[in-house]
């Protein structure tokens, strides 16, 4: 049989026994099965037929087995390439099948599983010469195999009663069971290492983005900014946890209809805690403003709606207006005005950012009309860079004003609302963002071809 390497996509479902059937739809198993001479699904059906198992107990090498082994050999050979995990799992699944179908297998070696599962290679007592023919018929006759199996069952029933055979069967079962357990453990190990590998890769990529040299000889400034970004990420994660605890407290308070004064205290706790994030961001921005502005500390969906390192207050107000009903006319006016003013401030800051970008671009684009002397050019270049550096430095100021705007807008909103409305607003804001985060998780985990 020619060496055959099935093209198997690395899918998430690899590694569990049941999927061998499922993956026949996804892979080149059509041709693979063809080369096996029978369909894998039929093999499964056959294995479930007790009569078939009894026939196998005579321990004759089945053509199937050899073919499966050849496949395994070629699968092992290709183990070095990237889909090796997938292939290995497939191989394991295949071998599982082969063991289900072919319990007693002659002493041909098995690559990874050692001899113990073959411990009871039964003495090849050719008690029934008809069996070979029957088996070959089964293999090549596909669907009619089941019929043939039941035909021979009568003849081999007497042999099955034999003591020796019984013991052999039990030992085979035991060996097969042990082998299955080992395979299971191996697969689990592979899966966890694969997960760990992807985690490490992600960490590495993140660390590289933050300018930390992988080798220990990184220079100080790089590692400082990297530390700032990572430290912020850690603190942000902690802040999120604390926030959700506060929110739960608030939610249960709202649901249990506590009095206004008590509710006010809880709401104030939440809003005070909410302000903590701005302090954290301020510190982090001093170390690495680009990390905050890039939004890498947020989830992808949140990042999509980002404006100067955070959310857009005017948008948030628009979303909340509907959820805060009933509102008095005065409140409506107040909220509408607040939305207007925050929009105006956002536009002003955006224009400033655009001016900054333009100015920076002009600074760098200008080829300073200097002398042809190299020293003059260097001086011009350095002057240009110094100017650009100065402009970059103002980014921190914009981030600070944007955060200030966010804080002020929320504070003003709470001034307009009653205690109960404030509580609902806080819950609504939290729920909105946690849904965005959940969306990001779903998006990142979506199955890909």
């Amino acid at each position: 049989m020619p060496s055959f390497v099935p093209a198997i996509p690395a899918s998430n479902s690899i590694g569990s026994e049941g999927n061998i059937v499922q993956s026949t739809q996804n892979t080149d198993f059509g041709s693979f099965e063809h080369s096996l001479g029978f369909r894998i699904e039929d093999a499964i059906n056959l294995s479930r037929d007790p009569a078939f198992n009894q026939i196998k107990s005579n321990g004759r090498a089945l053509g199937t087995d050899i073919q499966v082994r050849a496949v395994n050999k070629s699968v092992v050979a290709s183990e070095t390439d990237q889909s090796s995990t997938a292939l290995a799992s497939q191989r394991i699944a295949l071998q599982k099948e082969s063991h289900l179908n072919l319990v007693s297998i002659p002493g041909a070696h098995s690559e990874n599983w050692g001899d113990s599962n073959m411990a009871d290679t039964s003495p090849r007592t050719e008690t029934s010469t008809d069996d070979t023919d029957d088996r070959n018929q089964m293999l090549e006759a596909g669907p009619s195999a089941a019929l043939v199996a039941s035909d021979s069952s009568g003849r081999s029933k007497e042999k099955a009663v034999d003591q020796k055979t019984l013991r052999r069967l039990a030992q085979n079962r035991e060996a097969a069971r042990k082998s299955r357990l080992r395979k299971k453990a191996y697969v689990q190990q592979l899966e966890s290492s694969r997960l760990k590998l992807t985690q490490l890769e992600q960490e590495l990529q993140r660390a590289r983005q933050q300018g930390i040299f992988v080798s220990s000889s990184g220079d100080q400034s790089h590692s400082n900014s990297g530390n700032g970004a990572m430290a912020f990420d850690v603190e942000y994660a902690r802040w999120l946890e604390e926030q959700s605890r506060h929110i739960n407290e608030l939610r249960s308070a709202v649901n249990s209809h506590v009095g206004d004064t008590e509710l006010r205290i809880i709401v104030d706790n939440v809003t005070t805690h909410f302000d903590d994030i701005y302090r954290l961001k301020d510190t982090a921005a001093k170390a690495d403003v680009f990390h905050i502005l890039s939004g890498m500390w947020k989830t992808p969906a949140e990042r999509c709606f980002m404006w100067i390192g955070g959310f857009r207050s005017s948008e948030l107000l628009k979303l909340l207006m509907n959820q805060l009903e009933p509102l008095t006319d005065q409140q409506l006016m107040g909220l509408y005005n607040l939305q207007q003013t925050s929009q105006q401030a956002e536009d002003a800051l955006s224009q400033g950012m655009e001016a900054l970008q333009q100015s920076l671009a002009e600074t760098l684009a200008n080829n300073p009309p200097g002398s042809t002397e190299s020293s003059g050019n260097v001086a011009n270049y350095m002057g240009q860079m110094a100017m650009a550096m100065g402009k970059l430095g103002t980014l921190e100021g914009f981030l600070r004003q944007a955060d200030n705007l966010r804080q002020q807008t929320l504070m003003q909103m709470h001034r307009i609302l009653t205690t109960r409305q404030s509580a609902r607003a806080v819950l609504a804001i939290h729920d909105y963002f946690s849904r965005l985060r959940a969306l990001s998780s779903l998006w990142l985990a979506r199955p890909r071809e």
Partner: protein, 102 residues
């Protein structure tokens, strides 16, 4: 300092800026958006720019630009302006100083 005071009282809304400062650009945009036409004085184009900057810092303006005066009174830098804008008092101050009418 005198120069600053003189200029600040000359018009209802006065903003001291620097030509290279982009935050100043933001605050100017905000005022235009509100319908005000503030007098803009760029410190790096003024003869006594340095002293004026020093004087503004003395008033507590940090960073020194943009420095906003309404009705001759020192209001603050960008942060203060935005805060007053959000709670509605900026508009009121401008109306009171007759920099805008509505």
């Amino acid at each position: 300092m005198d120069r600053v005071k003189d200029l600040a009282s000359a018009k209802a809304a006065v903003i001291f800026t620097k030509s290279s400062c982009c935050m100043c650009h933001s605050i100017k945009s905000l005022f235009y958006e509100l319908g005000a036409s503030p007098a803009i004085h760029e410190l790096d184009r003024e003869v006594s720019g340095r002293e004026m900057e020093w004087a503004l810092r003395g008033l507590g303006c940090n960073p020194s630009v943009p420095a906003v005066f309404i009705g001759g009174r020192f209001i603050g830098s960008a942060k203060d302006v935005i805060s007053y804008h959000v709670d509605g008092s900026l508009k009121q101050m401008l109306i009171d100083a007759r920099a805008i009418w509505f």
